[in-house]
């Protein structure tokens, strides 16, 4: 029975065997197979796995030699030297091997269905297009030790869509592996259009969009204020009239704003004039609202979707009402999903990832970031070494793509691409994460080789490893779950046959949430 249990805790190859045993057992016990499945998953989570004797790169200080990592319930239970652990635990001998946190590809294309060259609204979410059933690519990437990926929207001119962060688990529904469905809004300068004027126009385009978002946000804030005032007054009036059916009315108010029912009800004179007697302020934004999709701003998801086109009619109604009553319901601004997303950016609720390669483009983007107080991450950044000190001072993290070879061959934007870019940024104490560049799905499997290439051009080994683990997690804002080996963190681990940055080392085992994908498992 014990061996049977051991078989269970060794997925996925072991799981096949275990399931077979289970199936047989279930037949014998006349228990339906389906009811046995959750038991195996449960066992997997409660039994602990121990990796012993390995060099553990905790990413918190120097690596621990001859250390032990205990995994339980999908989390890291303990890490250290001379640890005591459950004798029934499955023990993996890590002598001569190294253990790192699962690698994080901060710029991947895994699961993305296409090259994304089309035109994008910032409201587009990449998570809605990811295909978690591209199992081959997922397995290849996971086998290379990459357990977490950021997949951006890939719009490299103006603002694009919202990127996602998820764990690499082949064949699992995305909902189960998502860490952040909305990680950051993508943008780009000088990547698609490389003419000097075109690049300046792109920066201007970003600025215009952000300004529009600012106005949009103000309009909504005004509206919220006015609405509150209006409701207060309505309440006051209700109290005055002291009608018995006030409660019902109140309910209907919330459900549908701006109905005519209210007006005759509130026929009494208002005590005070509204502070802002003419509410068509959102009118100013009309030209910006040309792309209303009838979707709602995220924070007000409770409302109905008729607002976009309903404005003219409600205005008419308003006029009518004006004749009858001076208390006027404020007009709801038009909903624009793109501007709504950018408004969240302005609120600091959403990071911005701008891809830019040339130093002057990056400087323009930095100006933009300070102007609008953006939570900015630069992406690509081939020439970042030229402005390393500026980036360090502004505390702008950088996600580097391919470090060794030109990330975009034959592109003018990369005149000054240098393989020593990463090392220069590290020297200037700029936070860097490494990405596989995000062009094709399985490219993430070369994340480690890419980091090694940066090391070959002077990048410190520790910084290189951090750029794929702890720093990457920090830049993605997921360092509370992944990126280090500490008690309480997700049990995402890689066992390498040797030094993790030596490309001759091979990945011997990968754990995601404590579940192992063994080497040699092809599907």
């Amino acid at each position: 029975m014990r061996r049977f249990l051991a078989g269970l805790s060794r997925p996925p190859r072991g799981r096949v065997r275990g399931n077979l045993t289970l199936a047989l057992t279930s037949l014998l016990l006349a228990i339906p197979f389906a009811s046995v499945q959750p038991v195996s998953a449960q066992l997997q989570r409660t039994r602990s796995v121990v990796i012993r004797g390995a060099t553990v790169y905790t990413m918190r200080g120097a690596p621990l030699s001859d250390a032990t990592v205990v995994i339980r319930g999908g989390k890291i239970a303990a890490v250290g030297r001379d640890l005591r652990f459950d004798p029934r635990a499955e023990v993996i001998d890590g002598t001569g091997k190294s253990v790192t946190p699962g690698l994080i590809d901060a710029q991947s294309a895994l699961g993305r269905q296409g090259p994304y060259n089309g035109s994008f609204s910032p409201a587009t979410r990449v998570v809605d297009d990811l295909n978690p059933f591209a199992t081959d690519a997922f397995v290849e990437v996971l086998r290379a030790g990459v357990t977490t990926v950021y997949v951006g929207s890939g719009r490299y001119s103006g603002f694009g869509g919202i990127g996602a962060v998820f764990k690499v688990v082949p064949g699992k529904p995305l909902a189960d592996v998502l860490i952040e469905a909305e990680s950051s809004v993508a943008g780009g300068v000088g990547v698609v259009r490389i003419g000097s004027v075109a690049r300046l126009m792109e920066v201007e385009g970003l600025r215009k969009q952000l300004e529009a978002a600012r106005k949009y946000r103000e309009a909504w804030e005004d509206y919220d204020e006015e609405l509150e005032e209006y409701e207060e007054k309505l309440e006051e009036r209700r109290k005055e009239t002291d009608d018995s059916d006030g409660d019902e009315k109140k309910d209907s108010d919330e459900a549908e704003p701006g109905e005519s029912k209210d007006s005759p009800e509130a026929e009494n004179e208002p005590k005070k004039e509204p502070e802002n007697p003419d509410p068509p302020k959102p009118k100013d934004d009309d030209e910006l609202d040309s792309q209303a999709f009838g979707l709602l701003r995220r924070s007000r998801s409770g409302g109905s979707g008729e607002e976009g086109d309903a404005k003219p009619t409600s205005e008419k109604e308003g006029e009518k009402k004006d004749d009858e009553d001076e208390l006027q319901k404020p007009q709801r601004p038009r909903v624009d999903p793109s501007l709504a997303v950018l408004a969240r950016v302005l609120d600091g609720g959403l990071r911005v990832r701008i891809m830019a390669h040339r130093a002057e483009d990056m400087l323009n983007v930095l100006d933009l970031a300070s102007e609008f107080a953006l939570d900015l991450v630069l992406e690509g950044a081939s020439e970042a070494y030229r402005i390393a000190d500026r980036l360090a001072k502004a505390k702008i993290p950088v996600v580097l793509g391919t470090t060794l070879l030109s990330p975009l061959p034959r592109s003018d934007g990369l005149r000054f691409h240098r393989p020593g870019n990463a090392s220069r940024l590290a020297e200037a104490k700029v936070a860097i994460a490494l990405g596989s560049s995000g062009y094709s799905a399985a490219e993430s499997r070369f994340l480690r080789a890419n980091a090694a290439a940066a090391v070959s051009h002077g990048l410190d080994r520790t910084v290189a490893l951090e750029a794929m683990t702890s720093t990457a997690a920090k830049i993605l804002g997921i360092d509370d779950r992944v990126g280090t080996i500490e008690a309480g963190m997700d049990a995402d681990l890689v066992i390498f046959s040797g030094d993790p940055l030596d490309t001759r080392s091979v990945v011997e085992a990968v754990f995601v949430d404590g579940v192992a994908l063994k080497k040699g498992n092809s599907k």
């Binding site: 391919t402 070879l405 596989s436 399985a442 080789a449 980091a451 290439a453 290189a464």
Partner: protein
Amino acid sequence: MSGAFLVRFVQRIVLGGLIGSVVISPGGAQEATLAIRAKTLHTGAGDPIENGVLLVRHGSIIAVGSNLSVPSGVKTLEREVVAPGFVDLQTRLGATAHVAESAEPNLATLRVAPAIELEHRDFRLAARSGITTAAVLPWNLALVSGRAAVVKIGSKRARVISETGPLVFSIGQMALSTRYTGPSTHAGLVARLRDELGAVRNKPSDPLKGFVQGRELGFFVCPDANHFLSLLPLVEEYGLKIAAVNLGQKSPGSDRFVEDLVRAQIPAIFAPLSFRSKRRELEVPGRLAKAGVLVALTSSAPKESPHALRLSAVLAAQHGMSLRDALRAITAAPAELLGLGRRIGSLSPGKDADFVVWSRDPLDMSSQLLETYVEGELVFKAGDRRVRGLGKVLRSAE
């Protein structure tokens, strides 16, 4: 003094496990000699030597061995890892578009050598990625595209060491140029090739004579595996010696062409492997090398970065190629394919002292290139913006 010393010196070298013979001319032998002691010395022939010593004189290697003692007075460099300089079979280093010749289908007399800018910065970039010898191929716009040049990297300028490098043929889309009145289909190309070969047979002398008689190796640039395989009957009929260049770019990992190539033992020269290559594509060099086929990897610099050469070897090694085969694919194998196997490609006595100093194993991508030497002369040093001559750096090193 020097006579007695020399005797002792020679004795020591012989006792120390000298490979090959040493000829030391009297007078100033020590001054002209350079010793490099490496913790790991990859000779490119056999297993790496631990604590190996490389003795260099007048640009040539005079001795290689482990625990070889170095006579006093000889300048000695202590280094971590030393490996042969890389040989890149497919580059256009220093060659501007002037080489894109397509006047007619048969350009057998065309030589690339005159079109190379020997002071081009490409060569410095090559030196810093470990390349010491490069073949500059003609543009593959004509059926017989011309002759490649073989170039050695220098500290100030590159040197052409062979104007008459391999003959390059082009069997593919590129050769179906509409700019000349040549063949417009693959079948047309093969027919034209047959005609050209037949015509050469009857001539007393021709630039293609050596090739037709099977004495000279021809490089066949042919990205399409199926098109390449269609040449095999012709090759057999004439007893031609050919190497496949860029093969498999269009049908990577096709089992059939791997089998056919193994059967015919045709050397394979690959286009650079990269992060964008598919897994099956990356496995082909290893599969061929395992089956005994001579495999060379290339960078296609400057179209790709010259770093692509080492990256190709690293990627091939990660996909089933043995470390030894992978190193061979960028050193000894290409040297052999250039017909320069006796001069470059490995570190053994009598060969040119073209070597690279690394911080770690050259096939560990995280390994840093520290110095590049060509014929005993330092042509690149990490951290130096300017590339200096050997003498100066030696002084500063001491």
